[in-house]
Symmetry: C2
Subunit: 257 residues, 2 copies
């Protein structure tokens, strides 16, 4: 998504050229290219699919069929991790605890299907500014409370610096999640202000904002996480530029921070 302007074959070619060993994919471009064709493309290049984004939106109609399809796509792509963005308040509701309960129920309903496909469900807490319309799971503590209802190889959490950086309770939650082998994905994006309208597409290039990435990377490493670290930027300015250039710049920024 960081370089969504790049067609899938270009993305794969440039990752290989730059020595980027894996890539997190999003469902829409994968389905557009064809799931089997995308799987072959990435596999033949020797690239790992680190995660598939995303399942979730459990508070909207049709969630079950959508999420079963996402699990099948993850399995076909050869990734063991499906990222979940859980959904906000149902239309007309003002009841966040009820939305959270509904999310936990939906994950419980999906977990056996995911396990049967060799796919782990990774609950991503989103920044509290998305609680109403995108994800009622706003903190790592909340995500862990749901994940802990299930075995760690079935349901875990995503540690994304953009969503968690402000939270003084997050470091302890990272340690707890790591000790239980529940950190299924780590994602980096920087916090820059002012936020754009709609607050979706203002994630900053690494090193340009408020987040101390060396502290966050040390935190997840100390918690025992040794899996891939993704860079996930939604940024109108980066999307408007040449994708290869942005990918090179992002790889450099990653090493620098």
């Amino acid at each position: 998504m960081t370089v969504r302007q790049l067609p899938l074959p270009d993305l794969v070619r440039e990752c290989v050229r730059l020595g980027v060993p894996g890539v997190g994919l999003w469902r829409e471009p994968v389905r557009e290219y064809g799931v089997e064709a995308a799987a072959a493309l990435v596999r033949d290049a020797g690239l790992a699919v680190t995660t598939l984004c995303r399942g979730g939106f459990f508070t909207t109609d049709g969630w079950e069929a959508e999420n079963r399809a996402a699990i099948e796509e993850a399995a076909a792509l050869g990734t063991d991790t499906l990222i979940l963005v859980s959904g906000g308040l149902p239309p007309g509701s003002r009841d966040l605890p009820a939305a959270r309960a509904r999310i936990a129920d939906a994950i419980g309903a999906l977990a056996p299907y995911a396990r049967a496909h060799g796919v782990r469900l990774a609950i991503e807490p989103l920044h509290p500014m998305y609680a109403a319309d995108r994800c009622a799971i706003s903190t790592l503590d909340q995500a862990l409370a749901v994940a802990e209802l299930f075995p760690p190889d079935e349901v875990g959490v995503v540690v994304d610096t953009y969503h968690l950086w402000w939270d003084d309770r997050a470091p302890a939650a990272v340690s707890r999640a790591g000790a239980a082998a529940r950190i299924h994905s780590v994602q980096l994006a920087d916090w820059t202000t002012p936020l754009p309208a709609g607050v979706l597409t203002g994630r900053g290039q690494l090193g340009t904002g408020a987040i101390d990435f060396s502290a966050w990377c040390a935190l997840v490493a100390d918690a025992g996480y040794d899996g891939p670290i993704e860079v996930e930027l939604f940024n109108d300015e980066l999307w408007a530029r040449d994708g290869v250039e942005v990918l090179e710049e992002t790889a450099e920024a990653f090493l620098r921070v």
Copy 2:
């Protein structure tokens, strides 16, 4: 601030006409009108000044003189409560814990001066989306942790629904704050999406968004709070309209929710 388009004399006249018994004032319009003149205007109308907004911004240069002036103005206006918006990261810093420590130190330095003027300092936790650039105190738990370093009649907290509605830990913190007589102010605004660019001026009219106000009002009442409840909307659309009409509408919405 909800009707900042109304000059102070119009605001006072309309509050009296509508039976609104008190008003929270902001420093800028008060200073423009003259502090003593504003104090006389409100006093002669029989209106209470519920709070003065705002002191704080402790992570920027010149905070001490600014905050002493704000304390003096609060005393002159006859309000016992100065709202504090504590400030974000200092320029170039990525260290939120250091910013929070600096805020606690600054409040400690100010508290005796405030007490001598009969003014309580009320720490307002702001939504986490303001942590970098406006207020490093993002949760009621964090605000309480600072307030609890001081006596409750010196330093307390603000419960503002806009900033806290998403937080599953806030209800317990409200109860704890109420039991210790540390709730110094309660403010209402609704959460509506999409957020506008800069995320400052999108606070919704009561009843138009995601927040359950009857639950929040019951929560503060159950915690023992029986002080004034302010409505504080920053909203470009409301500011562009006739101020008297917006004030009437807000008073109606307040009673309705």
